[in-house]
């Protein structure tokens, strides 16, 4: 049996492409480490129960609720937050599509919405509207009524298929 860990542990992981080493409590939730320790406040706490999607981050490319995942689970893995999507001063095509389609109002759900969309289009570039709706069912928006979000998704889908793909 491997030795037990805690109550603190040194984590080594990749955050938005850069290596990070940080001492955390084993009980620390990923969301708290991102917001309070790493200053990455684009990830939002809302329902705190894995229902709303505002705290969505990508762990090895998969969307997870950072409010209900221990930071310890990110050890040795690649973590992507909304802050890491832009490259060389240019927004990610999904971010651009959300702007163009005005796919947000208050914006609180938007980081999670965008990261979920990025993960969806990475796995299903040709996602049907049904697949897209099923995938995004776990991201709640109380402002837009979702139509503009699905418009943005379709726009991003087209852009990502263009000959010069996002680097």
């Amino acid at each position: 049996m491997r030795p037990p860990v805690g109550p603190t542990v040194r984590l080594a992981l990749t955050v938005n492409g850069a290596p990070v080493e940080i001492d955390v409590e084993t009980a620390a939730l990923l969301l708290d480490v991102l917001r309070e320790r790493l200053g990455l406040t684009g990830t939002k706490r809302s329902c705190d129960a894995q229902v709303c999607g505002a705290c969505t981050v990508l762990l090895d490319g998969l969307p997870v609720s950072s409010c209900t995942v221990l930071a310890w689970e990110a050890r040795g893995r690649e973590l992507q937050t909304i802050e890491g999507l832009a490259r060389e001063g240019r927004l990610h095509p999904v971010q651009e599509a959300f702007l163009e389609a005005s796919a947000f109002q208050c914006g609180f759900c938007t980081p999670g919405m965008i990261l979920s969309t990025v993960a969806l289009l990475a796995e299903h570039p040709d996602a049907s509207p049904e697949t897209a709706r099923a995938w995004l069912r776990g991201n709640i928006c109380r402002c837009t009524g979702y139509a503009s979000i699905l418009d943005a998704l379709r726009l991003a889908q087209r852009r990502l298929r263009e000959p010069a793909p996002w680097p």
């Binding site: 049996m1 491997r2 030795p3 037990p4 860990v5 805690g6 109550p7 409590e25 084993t26 009980a27 620390a28 939730l29 708290d32 705190d48 129960a49 894995q50 229902v51 999607g53 969505t56 762990l59 998969l62 969307p63 997870v64 609720s65 209900t68 995942v69 221990l70 310890w72 689970e73 979920s116 993960a119 099923a134 995938w135 069912r137 776990g138 991201n139």
Partner: protein, 288 residues
């Protein structure tokens, strides 16, 4: 913020069971955390020790055994919804898995965690009950197997001993000529009603039926009265939609809660049973 935690990393199910026995009530078995961490954040479970079972190879197994399936307790919902093994006679399990909670919960949540938490508003136990699935538990005296029906004993209650861990779920293959469907309905994150139906067809008629209903009472149950009534019916009749309302729903232990009143749930369950049976009959007719 949670209190201080020590995380144990056993490499075998026997080690995990021994840790449960020695750490007692301070410890919880931990896999995806999608149920456990919520309970801890709400202050409903004050655990100081987590036994992380994700590193145990036997709990990560997902494969065929004979004609049946073996699903390790720490296999995630996402792995199940994407597995080619959940096809043919097991397609309803995939149909069920791909709608569990949301994409984030499915990425981390495990089948074993779902079954051990035994939240009544949940899909997997209902679908597995229709398959007469068995669970295998590891404890101080080795492994023991028991039917899923005997494992889920009530609302948040299972037959898992305080010195045991769930190792795997075994899903026997239904008889040749069997097809099925899973239908759920819900207005909230968790389902209000779920129904699994399996029909075995011989010469265009139902030779055997299995129907399980979940979420509406403390634990999922089979509907033997409805199952018996279906035997002998032409598949076309079932595919066209049978009225399932007198299929034993009146006698069920149904709980009124935020998802709806008991009468409402009985009605929805009967409608979903009819729809699940119709889909199963259509598939059984195509497969024959």
């Amino acid at each position: 913020m949670l209190g201080p935690l020590t995380i144990h990393q056993p490499e075998t199910a026997a080690e995990a069971a021994a840790l449960r026995a020695s750490l007692g009530e301070d410890a919880a078995v931990y896999a995806g955390g999608s149920e456990l961490l919520l309970v801890m954040k709400e202050g409903l479970g004050r655990f100081t020790q987590l036994i992380d079972v994700k590193g145990i190879a036997a709990l990560r197994e997902l494969g065929a055994r004979g004609d049946g399936l073996v699903i390790g307790a720490a296999v995630t919902h996402r792995e199940l919804e994407r597995s080619a093994l959940l096809s043919g006679p097991f397609a309803p399990l995939r149909e069920m898995e791909r709608d569990v909670a949301n994409v984030r919960v499915r990425a981390v949540g495990t089948l074993g965690g779902n079954l051990c938490f035994a939240e009544p508003h949940s899909d997997p136990a209902t679908a597995l009950l229709a398959y007469d699935a068995r669970v295998v538990l590891a404890g101080p005296d080795g492994e023991r197997a028991l039917p899923l029906a005997a494992f889920v004993t009530g609302s948040y209650e299972t037959a898992l001993g305080a010195d045991e861990v769930l190792v795997r779920v075994e899903v026997p293959a239904p008889p040749p000529g069997t097809a099925g469907a899973y239908r759920r309905f819900g207005l909230h994150e968790r389902p209000t009603v779920g129904v699994a139906a399996l029909l075995t067809a011989t010469d265009g008629a139902v030779s055997a039926a299995r129907v399980a209903v979940g979420c509406i009472g403390p634990a999922p149950v089979r509907l033997p009265a409805l199952e018996a009534r279906l035997a002998g019916l032409p598949l076309a009749t079932v595919a066209a939609g049978v009225d399932a309302r007198d299929g034993g729903f009146a006698a069920l232990d149904v709980v009124s809660d935020l998802h709806g009143a008991a009468d409402y749930k009985r009605e929805v369950a009967a409608v979903l049973a009819s729809r699940a049976l119709a889909a199963a009959a259509a598939r059984a007719g195509t497969a024959a």
